[in-house]
Structures are given as C-alpha cells and as structure tokens.
Amino acid sequence: MKSSNNIHLSRRSFIKTSALAGGGMLIGFNLFQACKPEAKPPVDISQLNFNDFNAFIKIADNGMVTIFSPNPEIGQGVKTSMPMLIAEELDISWDNVRVVQGALDTENYTRQVAGGSQSIRLGWEPLRQTGATARQMLINAAAQRWNVDPKNCTTEAGVVKGPDGATLGYGELVKDAAVLEVPEEVTLKKPEDFTIIGKDIVNVDVDKIVTGKPLFGLDYKEDGMLTAVVMRAPSFGLKLKDYDASESKNVTGVVDIIDVKNRIAVLAKDTWTAMKARDLIKANWEEDTEIESTAMHDKKLMDLLNGKDFKTMRADGNVKKAFAEADQVLERVYESPFLPHNCMEPMNFFADVQDEKVRLVGPIQTPERTAQQVATLLERDVKDVSVEMTRMGGGFGRRLYGDFAQEAALISNIVKKPVKVVYTREDDMTAGVYRPAIKYKISASIKDGEITGYHLKEASINSNMYGLIPNFFPAGAIENYQVDVAKYDSNITTGAWRAPYTNFLSFAEQSFFDELAEVLGKDNIALRLELLEKVKGTTDERIQYSPERLQNVIREAVAKSGYGQPKEGVYQGFSSYYCHNTHVAEVADVVMENEVPVVKKVTCVVDCGVVVNPLGAKNQIEGGVLDGIGHAMYGNFTFEKGTPVDKNFNTYHLIRINETPQVETHFIKNDYAPTGLGEPALPPAGAAVANAIKIATGKRLYKQPFVNELKVKAPLG
C-alpha cells in the first residue's frame, strides 16, 4: 500500500451488523469469502455462529471493543497482530480492546487455515476495511444525530468529533449505528496516521501463559473422557500380526483395549495409566512393505541425482550448451537428513463420536480439511462434524496433518465415549510426518569469468519443491537456468516443515554462491548485487522476488553488521534469501573457542513491508534464526530398520539456550503491504553460519547437521 485510497469493494457481501440484546453492536464478518445472503449476526452474544461469519467485533455501550479472533495461534502472534489491524481502522485505543478466541461449545463451524506465513498478508486489506467500515457506521450515526454531513466528522481514540466541537463516544452510538446500512465505501488511514500498527503490542494471551491457564489441546478435558495411548507399528513398513494385552488389562484404571486399524489403543481414566499399560502389550509385527534406512535413502537419492529421470520445473536458455562451452564448471552436492517437528506439545486430540454428531477438539492448523477427512473416515455427513481449535504448543508444519485427529475419531467411534488421544514424546518422534531428506546438486558454468549457466537438481523423498520456488533467485539473473526434480517414494510419512524446501535449499544455494564468488575471484556481496541487477525490469510474472528489495536488505545487512570489517578473532558469514513474500539477509559472527566454532551473534535485516507489531515480529525473527541454526547445526535424524534411531531428547539434540547467539533484528521501513514472518528468517541462517565457519576453519560444509562434519561434540555454544 503506497498511500491511502478509497476502495470500491462490496463490503456488504462480507460484513453484517446487529444490535445486541444486552446493549452494544455486533459486527460479523467473513474474512476470505462472502457471507450467505440470509446470514445474520446474532443478537445474543453467547450465540456466535462461526459458520456464516468467521470473526466478530462487539462494541459495547461503554465503548469497550471485543474482537472474537478467528485465528488459530501456533505461536506466530497472529491472535495479536490481526486484531491490531481492525483496532487501527476502527480508531480506538488498544487499552480498550479485548481479544477472545471463539466460544468452545459452538456447533458446526469451520475456520481458516494457519500456515505458509500468509495470515497477515491475506488479512491486511479485509481486516482494515472491516475496522474502517465499523468506524464509518459510528460516524454516520453521530452525523445523523447532529444532523451534519458525515464528511465533516472525524474520530480519535473511540470518540466521534463533530464540526462544532461536539463529541460522542462510540459506546453512545452503537445502538443507532447497528441498524444503519453497511457503507459501500470507506477510507483507510494513511500509514503516517497509524496509532496502533507499528507499535509494540504484547501478545494478548501472555497473562494466561505465564500463570499456567489451560489453553492447549493437552489441557482439554470433559467429564467422562478417557485417555487413549496407542501402540503403533514400531517401524514404517510393518503391520500388526497378533498381540497379547492380558497384562495391560489387569492394570487398575484401564477401561478398554481395542484394535484400531493396525494399531492397539489403551483407554484409561488417566494418562499415566494408559501410558504404562500400553507398554505392557506384547505385540508381534510382520513386514508389509520394505523396511528402509538412511543408508538406503542416501544411495537412492544419490542415484537419482546422478541419473536422468528428472522433471523440469523451469528452463531458461540452453543450459546444456552453456555447460558444453564453459571454461570451468563448479558442481557441488548438498545433503540434509529427515527432520522431526518436535512441537513441545506432543500430538494429541479429543474426539466425541455420537450418533447425532462428531465433536473434535484440539491443536490443528487445518480444521476444515480435518472435518472432511473424519467425515469420510467415519462415513458421516461433514455437517455433523465440528472441529474446535485450541492454542497450539508449536506447529512447524506438523499440525497441518490431521492423522492424530482421525485416530481419536476412530477410537471414539468404536468405544462411543469421549476420548483424548495422547502421544508420548517417543510416539511423537517416531510417528512423524517428517521433513524429507533431500539432496541438491548445484552446477554453474563459467565462461570468460562470468556465470553463464546454473543448473539445480533436487532429489527428495516422496515430494518435490512446488509453487514458485523454482523461480526464486537466481532465476532471471542467469541466462541459461534450469531446475530439475526427482523423488523416491518411501513408506516413511513426510510433509511440510517450517519453510518447506527452502529451509534447506537456501543453505545449499547461499553456500554455493559464496564458493562461486571464491572461484570467480569476486567479492561475494558484489556478486549477489550484480546478479540481482540483471533481474531488474523483468516481465516474468513467475519471478516474484524483488531485486531492488533483496539488494536493499543485502546492503543494509552489510552496513548493520560491519560485514567485511570484522573485529579481530571474529569470522563473518553472509546469506540472503527471499521466501514467503519476505526478503531477508543475515550475517553470522563466529569465533573460535577451544578450536570449536561458536556462533556469537546474527544480524538479520528483514523487508516484510509494514511491520504490524514490531515486538511480536522480532520474536518471530529471533526464533526463526535460532531454529535455523539449531537444526543446521545439530539436527541429526537417521532411520535404521524403518524407525528413527533417536526417539527422545536424551539423544536427539534440539538447540538449548547455552548454545544460542544473540539475534539483532532490523526492519526495512516502507509502506508495502505486510508479508509473513513465521518462516522467512529460518532459511538463510544455516548458510550464514556455514559461510562463517568456512572462513573460521577453512572447512566448507555441504551436509547437515554440521556437528557431524565438524567432528566435534556438542555443545558448540
């Protein structure tokens, strides 16, 4: 958004109002789609129906504003930042705003998905328009009362001001405003007039979090609920042959033990009993499909990378010719392992399957898809299935998949009782939907000291890069450019993991460019800027990164970190990347302590457009950078005999506080519409660290985790 403007979209299609029976005004709106023509917001606040409206704003007659936020909270802060957008255009003081998650007993409603760092980007316009529409209705109500032109009225902090100095608080106007027609046209604020957007606002749930209130799926309880702990196949590729649960049945507190499609579920009155009894089951398993291992995957992926069986995702010019005519070719292979998500809150879900309806409650990013999957699974009408979201103790992609919700539904369907399925940490780590192991081969052809060709090959497990990723940098910068992908189909379940594909591709590419600069005898920053220069003015619509904005974050990161002029004993590594519509550059400062490289500081420059909530935004950046470093450095996750070698945190190393550098975050100031922050700070971190370690130790890293390559014992902090 470059400046304020009148937007001629039909707000009537997605906003409707009602006067509340208890006083006040209720604004119902549907963020990403139109409301049904017959839909009406309720007059009783306890009857909010999220089927027709996925969010509500209540303005009470004392001027207090309650925003019923539709968004699931995984930890990215959208439950705070999205209401900020409404409050800004409504023109009220944040102190008078309360944010509430939709009521727990609401029936038959669905909401939107959280994922892909898209919430703020998609909500930016409609949420502000909603706030502005409500504000306009309050102005219209005041103007009517004063018998003046609404154009001559202004607002400030919850008060409408008339042309002659008269004022009316929003609370005094809600009764009149609620029955007015929804205006077709509203004016959005100019960025320089923002009073809430751009201010540091503390996470709206912080009081509940620091006092230990029940918020998460694992905290959810109902009367008569049983806890289920499930024995699943101990390896991918095995199926259940037979089992003996007689010992488990004798454990006091065990209510039932049932077969659930190749699994055995123990139902007990409490969690510990269910866990203990589950471990007493003696089960025999037999081979169903091939039992795989990391050694096998390494070979399969390397064969794919060296083979010819690729699908081409993008091809510019003639890569074959460029390589044939080259003076020199640089070719490097980069390797990554599978990764588990390891949300701190292990997977869990509540299901109550009854004849009339199916109720599901728990931490899930995809409620609509989950409702559909459960309906199909139980052969029920999807209208009978409701999914209620709790706060999520981390997501990182894992909670896009509803396997645990389906499991809960299957179990409850058999026992016809409310059931909460709980994973132990070992269950969570061994029954994952992992980031697939991936290998990249990147080659560049050099002729007369210039890069003439670039060929990226991906070999992955189960799935390949998608969407616009093949069109990210350096697409558009190099005349002869090609991206090829191949995959091996495994029985190990894989899926999205924070910044899918780019979480490792960025490491490969940004390590490669540093090495390429070395081979060319060029400055690594100058090389990046020079390549980006060539992308300027591109008419290729697939190229959505902005060369100007990427150059800008690169220059700013150099300036803020003092890159190129490090203090004595400090080794700096550089990396820049675009993904999830956000441009980022990072510089890692590494020092040698007892001959071990230690990351001390990361300077991160981010262009995400308008920063809605700097306090929350910085939290995402700090977390993303440290998560990126943690997994690049320590994420050692291998399979043997079809199952992960590491099953809990005693052997699987997640980064700890004593291993973390300080993250210094800078935002580029501009008025572009805001873009996502949950993911984009993660991908560049690995290469920034690896490029610094190369300078510090002389060793170039091609494989994650770095601990294995550096042959040092953790911790490196």
Partner: protein
Amino acid sequence: MPVYNLKINGTAHSIEADPDTPLLWVLRDHLNLVGTKYGCGIGQCGACTVHVDGTATRSCLLKVSMVEAMEITTIEGLSEDGSHPVQIAWKEIDVPQCGYCQAGQIMSASAFLNTNANPSKEDIRDAMSGNLCRCASYNRIEKAIETASSKLS
C-alpha cells in the same frame, strides 16, 4: 491403591494413585493443575518443572510416593495473580511464542534467582540449559531473567 498426602501450593491434598505415578500426572490428571506441562517424560526438556522445597525439579521423574510432606509449588501457585517478578518480566519482555514451555521456564528461572539473585549472562545460560524452547525464544528468556533479577535486587 495407596493414598498420598501432598502439599501443593500451600493446600493439603489426599491422592489415591499408584506409587509409581509421576507427580506430573498427579498434578495434571488428578488435581487439574495443567499449567505444568508434559514434554518428554524423561527429565530432558524441563516443561514439567515445579519447585519441591524451593528447588526446581522435573515433576515427570518424581514418583508420587516420594513427595509426601514436601512443599510443592506449581506455576499456579508461584503467585496469586501473575505478580511474581519473573512473571512480570516475562510479560514485559513478551517472551512467549507458542507458550507451551514457558511455565517450566518460569519455574526454573524463579528457583534459580532464589539461589543467585545477580547472575551473569553465563550463569543464566548455564542455569536454563535444561529447559527446551522449540520456538527458540531463548534471547528473550535471557533478557527477562536479567530484568527480573534487577527487579529483585
């Protein structure tokens, strides 16, 4: 099943449970004190940290039969209204992301500050290295403990 007399957050409770039931599950399932979190069950993540006679302890490793007569404090009992200096610092610095591990972090930090009111950065990093945060809110945990320490001294 045996009955155990526990003192939790200043209140006496009689609990009927198997002797090997971890305190964590007694708190969560028997007493509905769900602020104490399950993360790993083997004392590696710190999400289940409570104070036992003032010392930060992993409640997943403590059997109910071992804690009779001990003073147990959970996040719900750290203060009545979230006013403990560590809780205030946590809010001020806006530490949490997903928030799941934070009760454990706060319980570790508050017990630590009782033993070392003016810790160095290194002291803080060492003391808190037993608590995992998957969102990696570590920089802010460090800052919040410094803030709390300055409030305490």
